[in-house]
């Protein structure tokens, strides 16, 4: 039984991990905690839905198309909004992304209404796979696999490619990176794009489990954000670990203690952890200069 619970926790955790990873990527390169991450993913999922339902395109075309849209949306957020801020401080940037979140929520609600829709994907939710005594639906298995694959490719991107090197350099010291000829403006924009794509994958994986409506990403987004904070916002591996810990603990709590308070246990853990470790479990605490 406990194995099954942990398995379900890992499925939830991989969704949280994707969102947490997306948020901490942008946070590291621009100090923006992007609250609009969830709504951007929701918007991209709606784009996939339109391509599937209205234009009758095959699933993979729609999937790639929505990821492309998500990338452009990320670029838009960076170039049209965040870079335009006159004297950006942390508080103002945070509120800008909150504003963008409400804006996208209103836009999607206006365009597609608030009714719940069904996103058809070619992976079954009812057929199950069994291994090592555990039962898991094909969709959940695919969710875990895709999430792990995506995380691995982010790791490879950051570790072994020139673009990854430029991203890391920008994250460490923007001025120094610029002096060395790295187009930091574009690098930050691309980070926003990549984050948005990661979020969109999470959105497409989520939509068949819940349903497609404007509210679908609010809770996963808050949980993903909480997971990122739990793991320590500036440590990508820590963020992923935090997400899996959160997913598993939440599920165990829901079964053994109380299903009613399952949705808030995440935040209680956060407040307690932050009280003892103000920069998360695995985050590095850096002292600020006066």
């Amino acid at each position: 039984m406990i194995g099954q619970l942990i398995m379900t926790g890992i499925v939830a955790g991989s969704i949280y991990a994707l969102i947490a990873l997306a948020m901490s990527l942008t946070y590291k390169s621009s100090e923006v905690a992007n609250f609009a991450q969830g709504e951007m993913a929701m918007f991209s999922t709606y784009v996939a839905f339109v391509m599937l339902a209205t234009y009758q395109l095959p699933f993979w075309v729609a999937f790639i198309g929505s990821l492309l849209f998500a990338f452009l949306l990320g670029l838009f957020l960076h170039f049209a909004i965040i870079r335009r801020a006159k004297n950006p401080n942390v508080l103002n940037l945070l509120i800008i992304t909150l504003g963008f979140q409400i804006f996208l929520y209103g836009l999607v609600g206006w365009k597609w209404g608030s009714e719940q829709r069904v996103l058809k994907i070619p992976i079954s939710q009812t057929e199950t796979v069994e291994f090592a005594g555990l039962t898991i639906s094909q969709l959940n298995l695919a969710t875990i696999l895709i999430a792990v694959l995506l995380m691995a490719s982010i790791y490879i991107l950051l570790r072994f490619t020139k673009l990854g090197l430029a991203i890391k350099a920008t994250q460490q010291n923007q001025t120094a990176a610029k002096i060395n000829g790295i187009p930091t403006k574009w690098i930050v924009a691309i980070t926003f794009g990549i984050s948005s794509v990661i979020g969109a994958v999470a959105g497409v994986l989520m939509a068949p489990i819940t349903t497609l409506d404007p509210n679908m990403m609010i809770e996963p987004m808050l949980k993903g954000f909480a997971a990122a904070v739990l793991g320590g916002f500036n440590n990508l591996a820590g963020v992923v670990a935090g997400a899996f810990i959160l997913g598993i603990v939440e599920n165990l709590f829901g079964f053994y203690v109380s299903t009613e308070f399952k949705s808030i246990v995440a935040f209680l853990i956060i407040v307690i952890v932050l009280y003892f470790k103000p920069s998360g479990l695995f985050g590095t605490h850096f002292t600020r200069k006066v």
Partner: protein, 348 residues
């Protein structure tokens, strides 16, 4: 901007005679407003006043102390539920309202303790979690009426029964006035200067002998007290509350009122609360407006969806917040300042 002659101008409530004159003018205007408005408009004015009370407190936290809170909906909920429960069984209205404010302040103090070490996104998540936790706990406990919500008892203040919206209006106006004056006095006192010092740099402030721990928690408790008072009044103005009223959306709305009005200013709080409340209410039924209404209906029918039209108020709200931060970081108060300076220095 203005020329200052003595230090006492900085700490006095009303700076000079022209400010006294203008204060009387606005007071008179606000006092007479409900006579020219229709019944429903007075109700909206009540909502505006309640939001002004909450935003006054939140602005001290965000604008003056530089902390962020995404959980103020939780404090509003505590104030609303405590007032109703106390008023129903134990105490008259005014003592229960004040006591509810203090209960909210106690929670604010408790939230302020972990918030001491946190900043930026960490603080945002901690406060957000607090707000969510409060609403969930209230929604699951039968004592608080659960998801169905509860209704306040008939309102009786100092032996007078208050039933109409106009009665509520004067009650809210008097409380908002008292609370606004208190906030202004606080900002102009030693405590207010300590808040500003912490906002500008908490390390420098503590080096200068400001007790950061004390003033940060005090700021949280203070803004929670205001949210509690506002919540208590809100419950009576609406006539019915349920956990659905206190979602994170409410906290975000309150935050956007602070930003749109102008952070760190009392006038800004009033302007922001008024503007966002009206925008939010009007946005939900935009098709009733002349000229703009039919246009949006046409756009909806051709490009968007008619059923989703009420969601357009979120779109406007988000756009307003983004545009204000990008082009006028001081908010509506900044625009007002610029107009004032333009006319003062005219023709130059």
């Amino acid at each position: 901007m203005d020329k200052r002659i003595s230090y006492f101008e900085d700490i006095s409530l009303l700076k000079d005679n022209s400010v006294v004159g203008w204060s009387f003018f606005w007071l008179l205007l606000f006092g007479l407003v409900p006579f020219v408005l229709a019944e429903y408009q007075v109700f909206i004015a009540n909502l505006v006043l309640v939001n002004v009370i909450i935003v006054l407190g939140l602005n001290v936290l965000i604008g003056n102390t530089g902390q962020i809170s995404l959980g103020h909906g939780g404090f509003v909920a505590i104030g609303a539920y405590m007032t109703i429960i106390l008023d129903e069984q134990w105490l008259p209205f005014l003592p229960s309202l004040i006591l509810a404010g203090f209960v909210a302040a106690l929670f604010g103090f408790l939230l302020g303790i972990p918030a001491l070490k946190l900043e930026g996104p960490y603080l945002a998540v901690a406060t957000l979690g607090f707000g969510l936790a409060i609403t969930t706990i209230i929604g699951r406990m039968p004592f608080f009426g659960g998801h169905m919500g509860i209704m306040p008892p008939p309102l009786k203040v100092l032996g007078m029964e208050m039933t109409t919206n106009m009665d509520f209006y004067y009650l809210c106006l008097i409380i908002a006035l008292l609370i606004g004056v208190f906030a202004r006095l606080l900002i102009k006192s030693k405590i207010g200067r300590a808040f500003s010092a912490i906002r500008d740099s908490d390390i420098a402030a503590s080096a200068l002998g400001v007790n950061v721990v004390r003033y940060k928690t005090m700021s949280f408790a203070f803004s929670a007290f205001y949210a509690g008072i506002g919540g208590g009044l809100w419950a009576y103005v609406l006539g019915f509350i349920s956990p659905g009223n206190f979602t994170p959306v409410l906290s975000i709305l309150l935050l956007s009122m602070v930003v749109v009005g102008g952070s760190g200013s009392i006038t800004g709080s009033v302007l922001g609360a008024t503007a966002i409340t009206l925008l939010n209410l009007q946005g939900e039924k935009i098709q009733e407006l002349p000229l703009i209404g039919p246009f949006f209906e046409w756009v909806s029918a051709n490009y968007m969806s008619i059923s989703g039209l009420p969601n357009i108020n979120f779109l406007f709200m988000g756009l307003t917040v983004i545009l204000i931060i990008l082009f006028e970081p001081l908010g509506l108060f900044g625009i007002w300042l610029r107009i004032k300076i333009y006319f003062k220095t005219w023709p130059f």
